[in-house]
C-alpha cells in the first residue's frame, strides 16, 4: 500500500514528505511506548502513535521507519515536523483513534505486523 493511500484511508493530513507518497508500505506498528517499536522487526513500516514528542520521530528514524502517523487528531509542533523533514520522513495526522486508524489500514490491505509468544 502506498503512502498516498494511507493518507486517503485515514482521511489524514500530510504534514511533510510529499516525495514519499509513492513509497510502498507493507507493515504497521501501533505503539505509544518506544521500546515496543524498537522490538518490531519488519521492513517498510508505518508507525502509528499517540506519542507526540521528539522521541517518536527519533525512534522511527533510528529504526529506518520513514512514515509516522499521529492518531487522535494530534498535530506535531513545527520543530518536530522540521526534524522529520531533515530525516527524509513523512508525517501524517489523522482524526481517528489508534484502534480505528489501525483497523482502517488493516481493512485497506496492510497485513504485516509483529507477533510474539505469550509468556
Amino acid at each position: 500500500m502506498k503512502v498516498r493511500d494511507i493518507v486517503a484511508t485515514l482521511d489524514g493530513i500530510l504534514m511533510t514528505g510529499e516525495e514519499l507518497l509513492d513509497v510502498d508500505i507493507q507493515a504497521a506498528c501501533g505503539a505509544d511506548l518506544m521500546s515496543d517499536v524498537m522490538a518490531f522487526v519488519k521492513e517498510n513500516v508505518v508507525l502509528l502513535t499517540g506519542l507526540v514528542n521528539p522521541q517518536s520521530i527519533r525512534t522511527a528514524d533510528l529504526m529506518d521507519i520513514r512514515v509516522v502517523v499521529y492518531v487522535r487528531g494530534k498535530v506535531p509542533p513545527k520543530d518536530m515536523v522540521a526534524e522529520a523533514t531533515r530525516n527524509g520522513m513523512a508525517v501524517i495526522s489523522t482524526k481517528y483513534s489508534m484502534f480505528l486508524a489501525c483497523g482502517r489500514l488493516y481493512e485497506a490491505g496492510i497485513r504485516g505486523g509483529g507477533t510474539r509468544e505469550i509468556r
Binding site: 511506548l33 524498537m38 522490538a39 528514524d61
Partner: protein
C-alpha cells in the same frame, strides 16, 4: 575513529541525538544496513536509560571497519538486581516517563537481542557502565 558525546540528564528532548549521529556516521562509512540498525537500536536504548535512569553521562563510540564498540557511562543510582532488570517488562520508570513513551521494560532485552556482546557493570550508588559491541558483516569503507 572515535566519537564522544556528553549526554544531558536534564533535557529529554535532546536524548537520542548521539545515537542518531553515530547511525549517520556508519551510513557514510558504508556499513551494512542490518548492523547499522542493530547499532542504532542498542545505542538508543542505552542512551535513553542513561538519561532517564542514570541522570546523563558520557557516550563513546569507537569504530573500525569491522566493528563498533559503544561505551555509555553514568554516575547514577546503579542497578541493584541486574538479572531482574534484564527481564522483559521489568521497569522502575515512573508514570511521567511512561507518558513520554518509555518504561516498557524492553530496553535492556532489546539491547541484548541486537548486540553481539553486551556488558553491564553497575554499582549501587556509584553508577552504571554499559558496553555494546556490534560486528559488521560487510566491513565499512575504512575511516570516516
Amino acid at each position: 575513529m572515535k566519537l564522544r558525546y556528553q549526554v544531558s540528564g536534564d533535557d529529554l528532548s535532546l536524548a537520542g541525538k548521539a545515537s542518531s549521529e553515530v547511525k549517520r556516521a556508519l551510513g557514510r562509512l558504508g556499513v551494512d544496513p542490518g548492523a547499522i540498525k542493530r547499532t542504532a537500536v542498542s545505542m538508543y536504548e542505552a542512551e535513553m536509560n542513561m538519561v532517564i535512569h542514570g541522570g546523563g553521562g558520557v557516550a563513546v563510540a569507537e569504530f573500525s571497519p569491522e566493528r563498533i564498540v559503544i561505551t555509555m557511562e553514568d554516575s547514577g543510582p546503579g542497578i541493584a538486581d541486574l538479572d531482574l532488570a534484564m527481564q522483559e517488562g521489568y521497569s522502575t520508570a515512573p508514570e511521567w516517563i511512561r507518558e513520554m513513551g518509555f518504561g516498557a521494560g524492553m530496553g535492556l532485552p532489546n539491547m541484548k537481542r541486537n548486540s553481539d556482546e553486551l556488558r553491564i557493570e553497575s554499582e549501587v550508588g556509584k553508577g552504571t557502565t554499559v558496553t555494546i559491541v556490534i560486528i559488521f558483516s560487510v566491513p565499512g569503507g575504512g575511516q570516516a
